[in-house]
Symmetry: C2
Subunit: 193 residues, 2 copies
């Protein structure tokens, strides 16, 4: 509130009556932003590691030795690619968000770009979670109408890994929604009333 | 730019030097918003109608008369529910967006709420598209590793309807991304430079 007394940079002139966001608010907002992005990275990494380590080999009575791998289903491959992209994206944007804490001048521009990209990554992660979840559900319950047998009764470790990975990926989607909300709310807070 | 000479309403005081958005810009932004929401409604309705009318009965040689229905798969039921919610949401928000064109005072508040809710609906539609797409892909290609046979060679009408519905739902996701972008961009445009 008391930051109107030093209009150092004419490009970011803060001498106008409507209060610009105080620097502490910017830092707080981006500190929360960084926290969420670190959580997103952790979630994406966990989801990828858990599904990649899900392969299971088992001897079953009518079929002999059979192996299930996540690579056998394009849905799970798409899931791994999407979550890897989200993980990589979270690293880049965590660094960008940290840079704003050190240089708050550019915060409005960064909020705009973050909101734009976060929405795209949300679409990617949500659709990947849906894709893998849909196929995993068929594996869990089967579909007697079209003769698809469930496989989770035989391959428990595989399905447990899938379930864990899907739960973490759902959490990543929630984090992405929160990230977009945070950017939008911060942008809204900068508009003079 | 020249609207500083009539501070009529103290609640929405525009007497400050940073330029408030000109009314024409607000109307243009919300006109585009309404267009996108009408498109979203059309897409959601089309996707639901196309998948609901996909049921197919067919006589096949080894199995006799068999019927495939979208209701047999929880993934497609979820898809129908999600797209119906999106369609209903698009009606409500189209009316809300129209109300802003007539009463631009509340535009900033509406932009904030639109962005918040659009993100949630995007997550819903994207995940539903993924879920239905994942299961539809198994129907198209099968999965020989776990013994799931493809069904699209027998049930062509069913699969054509699925493909059409999924394409339209993907379009709805893109419209939702554009809607969030529009809200974010409009909010950003109201921040004094």
């Amino acid at each position: 509130m008391a930051s109107t007394d030093k209009p150092t940079d004419p490009e970011y002139n803060k001498g106008a009556p409507p209060p610009p966001p105080p620097p502490s608010a910017t830092v707080n907002c981006f500190a929360f932003d960084v926290t969420l992005r670190v959580l997103l990275f952790a979630a994406a990494l966990t989801a990828v590691v858990v599904i990649v380590t899900s392969d299971q080999t088992k001897f079953t009575v009518p079929l002999g030795i059979r192996e299930v791998k996540f690579k056998h289903s394009p849905a799970f491959v798409y899931f791994v690619v999407a979550l890897s992209v989200a993980g990589l994206y979270s690293i880049i944007t965590t660094l960008a968000s940290l840079s704003v804490i050190w240089k708050p001048n550019l915060s409005t521009k960064f909020l705009l770009h973050f909101a734009f990209w976060d929405v795209l990554i949300l679409g990617l992660v949500a659709s990947a979670t849906g894709t893998a979840g849909g196929v995993a559900y068929v594996g869990l319950k089967g579909n007697k109408h079209v003769g698809w047998l469930k496989i989770c009764n035989n391959y428990d470790k595989f399905c447990q890994h899938l379930a864990g990975s899907l739960a973490v990926s759902l959490f990543a989607s929630v984090v992405l929604v929160l990230l977009v909300w945070l950017s939008v709310y911060s942008l809204h807070g900068r508009i003079p009333k």
